[in-house]
């Protein structure tokens, strides 16, 4: 064949002159165009991110390492299992991730608890990104717990739930006799954020609570997302208001400047 294609002098796809604005956002702006379509290089960048996010969903939480790390705070740490026995069942059966497995439930029921209820129970669950929990949960607790101690909050033993979803904190909170539950949970991995931590607060946790009865702070993921300090500031405010008004969720909405954050913004069940 005499017709060997010549190597082009440069990329055929045309870059966008505003692609320098990418310094203001991680969004995929200024990708350029081939006709009106995405040029090959950003196309393959996307495919790589998707492949990594798929891998993150299936990553398994290293429970023992997390438990060791949390015990360094000097607090009791409970390791629990949801009713979903493994990762693939967890993904296919959200209902099982919302309740404790039989042995974990029995262990909590048998646990000796003080007569006076705890003010708050913290639950840490892998959710849809164990990577998020491994990256951020301990450091966030290091930030918030001393503030609560200083405020006189009575904090229940810390609970780690494997294969857990948001609502599992209702059952854990109820069994630990806590007035308030706060769950730290791995949010569904995005293409650009495989390790985003979410946080849901529920007053008077009981199985059957609805999403409208929770307050959410999402995207805890420094340095790109919310910092631990700001997330702790927001949570501390919400917890204080929740305790004062004895409620959580839509009705807890506050006009306090840049503080309250209510509900998952609209597309619910980010972490399910």
């Amino acid at each position: 064949m005499s017709n060997v294609p010549r190597k082009p002098a440069g990329p055929v796809g045309i870059p966008d002159p505003w692609n320098i604005l990418g310094k203001f956002t991680a969004a995929r702006i200024g990708l350029g165009r081939a006709g009106g379509s995405v040029p090959t290089r950003p196309l393959l960048d996307f495919q790589l991110s998707h492949a990594r996010a798929r891998d993150a969903v299936h990553h398994t939480l290293d429970v023992q390492a997390l438990a060791v790390r949390l015990r360094e705070t000097g607090r009791e740490v409970l390791t629990l299992l949801s009713a979903a026995p493994d990762r693939s069942t967890f993904i296919a059966r959200p209902d099982l991730g919302r309740i404790l497995g039989a042995s974990s439930k029995a262990a909590l029921e048998a646990k000796a608890l003080p007569n006076e209820p705890f003010d708050v129970a913290f639950v840490v669950a892998d959710g849809l990104s164990a990577m998020a929990v491994e990256a951020h949960a301990a450091a966030f607790l290091d930030t918030i717990l001393p503030r609560l101690d200083a405020d006189g909050w009575r904090i229940a033993p810390l609970a780690i739930v494997e294969q857990g979803r948001v609502a599992v904190a209702d059952e854990v909170g109820a069994l630990l006799h806590a007035k308030l539950s706060v769950i730290l949970i791995g949010e569904r991995p995005g293409l650009s954020s495989p390790d985003s931590l979410g946080l849901y607060l529920t007053w008077d946790p009981l199985p059957g609570r609805s999403n409208a009865e929770r307050n959410c702070i999402s995207n805890i993921r420094p340095p790109e997302g919310l910092s631990y300090a700001l997330a702790a500031h927001k949570l501390h405010f919400l917890m204080t208001e929740s305790r004062r008004r004895k409620l959580s969720g839509v009705d807890l909405k506050e006009d306090a400047p840049a503080l309250a954050s209510t509900g998952a913004p609209d597309r619910l069940e980010q972490a399910g």
Partner: protein, 462 residues
């Protein structure tokens, strides 16, 4: 309660009531399996479809799938049913209704006139007997046109919601994405931000930002901050520049309670926003999002299949003459769906919404724990473009960095317009031409390093 039966070979299939029959007849959907209401076998599903085909449409007016006494959406459906509009099909069974819809004689005008006579359950029922091509063909007959600062849903047009979300609502980050979308010819349906946090101050700040962009560049489009309806009402009371009021809704009173809303609240918000008089060519002011599976997530499905419940959400939405309605088809309860199920669900939702008289768009999307990919999205996108969808989403590079899911992109919008010969909303097309962004309504003008819109980045930084 009636019992519905059908004999297939040696087996007599019995279905306790209409609700059960619909659930057994619905195409395979993992949310219905999780709810424990799906057909046990493939044959049972077809037997249920055969049974359903023989049920008279009039039966749906006598047997509610969620009790009238305990559900305000059932009451809305029954109390607002228009018997005169229903008259032309009052004698048909569900199966005959499918054939009627497909017939040459039934055109867009007939379907528009019919809409108030249809209940969501009738529409859901017939869709269960239809293949994808049937739903594409029938939906394509219907145009639902709405307007605020531009006119959406006209024949030969495809609009796009510019969705410039940012994980910390950073003004410059949002402005950069708005700029990117506008320079790709997107944003005629709405420039709509999902805020990372929905407190009043933040929402007001974002409303002011978008209002300034729209006013400065005289863009014939509207803005929306997708926050809870009560936050939007608070913002309006404080005088914030609110174009559209957003709310996620579902198809039962109980699921809406889980969202913290009810019908009267939506009506109040609609009236407040319309009274502001901010639209220039129309006064449709509501924006609703829905999605199969939300009632299951909220444990509020009453044993009704997720597709029928979704259609009931449209029954609620149409009470408010919305500018925009879209299902977020691969998002709500995404763990229930793979690519194949998302594709069918998207076509069903568009069909049911259009038949009920709604200006249906679609968030063609998936999340990273669904077994789906870009090829699935391209398939659904192309089907919906063919079916005449009013608008799709435009997210930079299809990657929403705040909501952590993949939707469609500005480039996807251009692909669909180019492939199917669809143009932006007319007022917006004129603006794009004036701004030197699109040539001929269909193709991008060469990128211009000194485009006046680039100053938008400085506006936001100021």
């Amino acid at each position: 309660m009636a019992v519905y039966t059908h004999i297939v070979g040696a087996v007599t299939y019995r279905f306790e009531d209409l609700r059960t029959l619909l659930a057994k007849a619905t195409p395979a959907r993992s949310g219905d399996r999780l709810a424990g209401i799906a057909a046990a076998t493939a044959e049972e599903r077809v037997a249920a479809q055969m049974t359903l085909a023989e049920v008279p449409l009039a039966r749906f007016l006598d047997e509610a799938v969620v009790p009238y006494e305990t559900d305000e959406i059932t009451r809305l459906i029954i109390d607002t049913h228009d018997a005169a509009a229903f008259a032309p099909i009052a004698h048909l069974t569900v199966g005959d209704f499918r054939d009627w819809l497909l017939s040459y004689e039934v055109d867009g005008a007939a379907l528009t006139a019919l809409a108030p006579g249809l209940t969501p359950e009738m529409v859901a029922a017939v869709s269960k007997l239809m293949r994808i091509q049937d739903m594409v063909l029938v939906a394509r007959k219907v145009r639902v046109v709405t307007a605020f600062r531009d006119t959406l849903g006209l024949p030969g047009r495809l609009s796009c919601r510019l969705q410039p979300n940012h994980p910390t609502d950073d003004t410059r980050g949002i402005a950069a994405a708005v700029l990117d979308g506008l320079l790709y010819g997107c944003g005629d349906a709405v420039i709509g931000i999902n805020p990372a946090t929905d407190n009043l101050e933040q929402v007001t700040r974002l409303l002011l930002l978008l209002d300034e962009v729209i006013q400065t560049y005289r863009i014939p489009t509207q803005s929306c901050i997708l926050t809870h309806v009560t936050t939007s009402m608070d913002a309006m009371r404080r005088g914030a520049p609110m174009d559209l009021v957003f709310q996620s809704i579902g198809g039962t009173e109980a699921v809406n309670r889980s969202f913290g809303v009810h019908a009267a609240m939506l009506g109040e918000a609609d009236a407040m926003a319309r009274a502001l008089g901010r639209g220039t060519v129309g006064d449709n002011v509501m924006y609703f999002e829905t999605g199969q599976g939300s009632a299951l997530s909220a444990n509020a499905h009453h044993g009704v299949d997720q597709q029928t419940i979704e259609a009931r959400a449209y029954g609620l939405a149409r009470q408010y003459r919305p500018l925009l309605v879209n299902s977020v088809v691969g998002f709500i309860g995404p763990e229930y769906l793979n690519g194949r199920e998302i594709i069918r669900a998207g076509v069903e939702d568009h069909f049911c919404g259009k038949l009920l008289g709604l200006p249906m768009g679609m968030d063609v999307c998936y999340t990273n724990h669904a077994d789906a990919d870009q090829d699935d999205m391209d398939t659904l996108l192309t089907l919906l473009g063919t079916a005449g969808v009013n608008y799709i989403m435009g997210v930079p590079g299809a990657d929403d960095i705040m909501l952590n899911y993949q939707s469609t992109s500005f480039h996807d919008t251009l692909y669909l317009r180019q492939t199917l010969g669809l143009r932006p909303a007319p007022e917006f097309e004129d603006w794009l031409a004036r701004m030197g962004i699109l040539e001929d309504g269909l193709r991008l003008a060469p990128a211009n390093a000194s485009h006046p819109l680039l100053a938008l980045a400085d506006t936001a930084a100021a």
